[in-house]
């Protein structure tokens, strides 16, 4: 498919998705919005991990920081949602830099555990700093924003809003990956020693990839808080980071649409299995998590490069 044809197909798919909100139940629209906010975060994780090769188990911490910034600023200080988005993005960018500066001296599973430690730390701050975060009770009644005078309070309006925001951040990510920076990220992932001998500043680029990935997590968190209208610490525990990591790997790490496919599966598959009304799938209501786990194992054994590597696999088989 030519790039133009692919863009048109993509635009049609997005419009179809937006239109589907007219035909779905409220709870289903909510799930679609949930997918959109998580995709923002996993897209950032994919930059850090898939493109720049830095393992992270702390993406939920940035997601949580974004969500709490929104909840605190909008409920306690009455700051507009529109102002909160750049604040959260910049704040997470700098927290990412501050974490990356010491943590990126180590690689792979050591880096994974360093970021996991950070995630637990952020969780503890959210749980214990009651004056600011509301402790285990969290913060409720987080407002949804207005677009000019149009309230985005309804489930459908908020979904369209989130979808549009996702499209914008996805386009920005695409531009970043196509810029010389994106090429430098891929080079240092493929071969850091050679990259350095070609003048690529590994420290600067890994930090930037990590911080931009964190900023994506933060923006996702802001939209999450607006969607759920309630934040509490356990959502942002490291198990959520694991779920995000799973989404990236399942879809195809280092592939643009990998985190999209992966996140949709990780969020929707359990729900589909659980709520299936077909009699043949009735037993799933009790067994859906088991079925989900089995499906993941099978997928990872069959396609270790993620679902989007299926094309490569076919090409290899055809060549063999």
């Amino acid at each position: 498919m030519s790039p133009a044809a692919r863009n048109i197909a993509l635009a049609i798919a997005i419009l179809a998705l937006a239109t589907s909100a007219f035909f779905l139940q409220r709870s289903q629209v909510y799930l679609l919005s949930l997918c959109c906010v998580y995709v923002m975060a996993t897209m950032g994780l994919n930059l850090t991990m898939g493109y720049a090769g830095q393992m992270s188990l702390g993406q939920a911490a940035f997601f949580g920081i974004g969500a709490y910034i929104d909840a605190i600023l909008t409920t306690k200080l009455g700051v507009s949602f529109w102002v909160v988005i750049p604040i959260a993005a910049v704040a997470c960018f700098f927290v990412g830099l501050a974490l990356g500066f010491p943590a990126l001296r180590v690689q792979h599973h050591y880096l994974a555990f360093a970021t996991l430690g950070f995630n637990v730390l952020v969780y503890l701050v959210m749980r214990n700093e009651e004056a600011l975060t509301g402790g285990t009770f969290g913060i409720s009644n987080v407002p949804r924003p207005y677009l000019f005078t149009w309230s985005l309070d309804s489930e459908r309006a908020y979904f369209w809003f989130t979808l549009a925001a996702l499209v914008i951040v996805a386009i920005l990510m695409r531009l970043l990956l196509r810029s010389p920076w994106g090429r430098a990220f891929a080079a240092l992932r493929d071969n850091p020693i050679r990259a350095e001998s070609l003048g690529i500043n590994i420290t600067a680029y890994t930090l930037l990839a990590f911080a931009i990935g964190a900023a994506y997590g933060g923006v996702g968190g802001v939209f999450y808080a607006g969607l759920v209208q309630y934040v509490e610490p356990s959502t942002f525990y490291f198990t959520t980071s694991l779920m995000m990591l799973l989404a990236v790997i399942l879809g195809g790490s280092g592939r643009f649409f990998g985190p999209v496919i992966g996140t949709v599966i990780v969020i929707l598959l359990p729900e589909v299995l659980r709520s299936s009304s077909s009699p043949a799938l009735q037993f799933m209501q009790k067994w859906y998590l088991v079925a989900f786990g089995v499906a993941l194992v099978v997928l990872m054994v069959w396609l270790p490069g993620g679902l989007l590597s299926i094309g490569d696999r076919r090409a290899r088989k055809a060549a063999a």
Binding site: P180, R183, D190, N191, E196, L198, G254
Partner: protein
């Protein structure tokens, strides 16, 4: 120190010891601007360690390296790259998941403008023309769009070497460019290196075991044995040196 006219690299009494083992034992030599210098010697004679010391991959125990009069001893590979020192490695080092053209562009893009500006620069950083020129020269045109990791060893070797020349470096250190390469490609590589030296200028230091290649490419040859420079001079003189013959053939 004042640089000798036309002198680019000066390695002065370089030592690298690992405990009692002297991998590089007081090596001194000079490379003139635009000169091609060959480094030969049996396996384990310290050639690659010498390269790694010059290139900041490992710190020398003692000694000095200067580039056009500036002290570059123990400078990081990044800083050396910025000063126009390029290199290739003994083993293939290409970016397997980037296309051939992107491999060449990424090899030179960091020398264009500044880091923040590159974010907003054209996606190819204005380097497509230069990359395509190099692709043409290295006969990689049919595979320019393919991922480098999927190509044959010989093609990847060509990309590997072409990358080192993309930033138009002042000095390139090539570590066994002919290793694992078939005889006809060896001849191609020799022609390419001679051509690049003519067209781009720049000085080359080449480690190689292929004597024919070295003798025909390099007007000046250094022979290392057990970490020391055993002989130095025009290739024929070094080749017929009695000590060199003994070191290679044993006695």
């Amino acid at each position: 120190m004042i640089a000798r006219a036309g002198e680019l690299l000066h390695v002065d009494a370089l030592h690298k010891s690992y405990g009692a083992i002297r991998a590089v034992d007081g090596v001194s030599f000079r490379v003139g601007a635009g000169e091609i210098v060959g480094v030969i010697g049996p396996n384990g004679s310290g050639k690659t360690t010498l390269f790694n010391c010059i290139l900041g991959q490992i710190g020398p125990t003692s000694g000095r390296v200067t580039l056009a009069g500036d002290d570059i001893t123990s400078m990081s590979p990044l800083e050396l790259a910025r000063r126009g020192v390029g290199r290739t490695f003994q083993t293939l080092q290409v970016f397997g998941q980037l296309s051939v053209r992107d491999n060449l562009i990424v090899a030179a893009q960091e020398f264009e403008s500044t880091l923040p500006r590159r974010l907003f620069a054209r996606p190819d950083a204005g380097l497509t023309a230069r990359a395509d020129e190099m692709i043409e020269r290295f006969r990689l045109k049919p595979v320019a769009q393919l991922h480098a990791g999927r190509l044959s060893y010989g093609q990847q070797k060509l990309i590997d070497i072409a990358m080192a020349f993309m930033p138009r470096p002042r000095l390139v250190l090539l570590d066994e460019p002919c290793a694992g390469v078939n005889p006809s490609l060896v001849e191609t590589l020799r022609e390419l290196l001679a051509e690049l030296n003519r067209v781009q200028g720049g000085s080359f230091v080449v480690i190689e075991h292929n004597m024919d290649f070295i003798m025909r490419l390099c007007p000046h040859v250094i022979c290392m044995v057990e970490g020391k420079v055993l002989a130095e001079g025009p290739p024929q003189a070094v080749q017929s040196n009695r000590a060199v013959l003994e070191a290679y053939l044993g006695n």
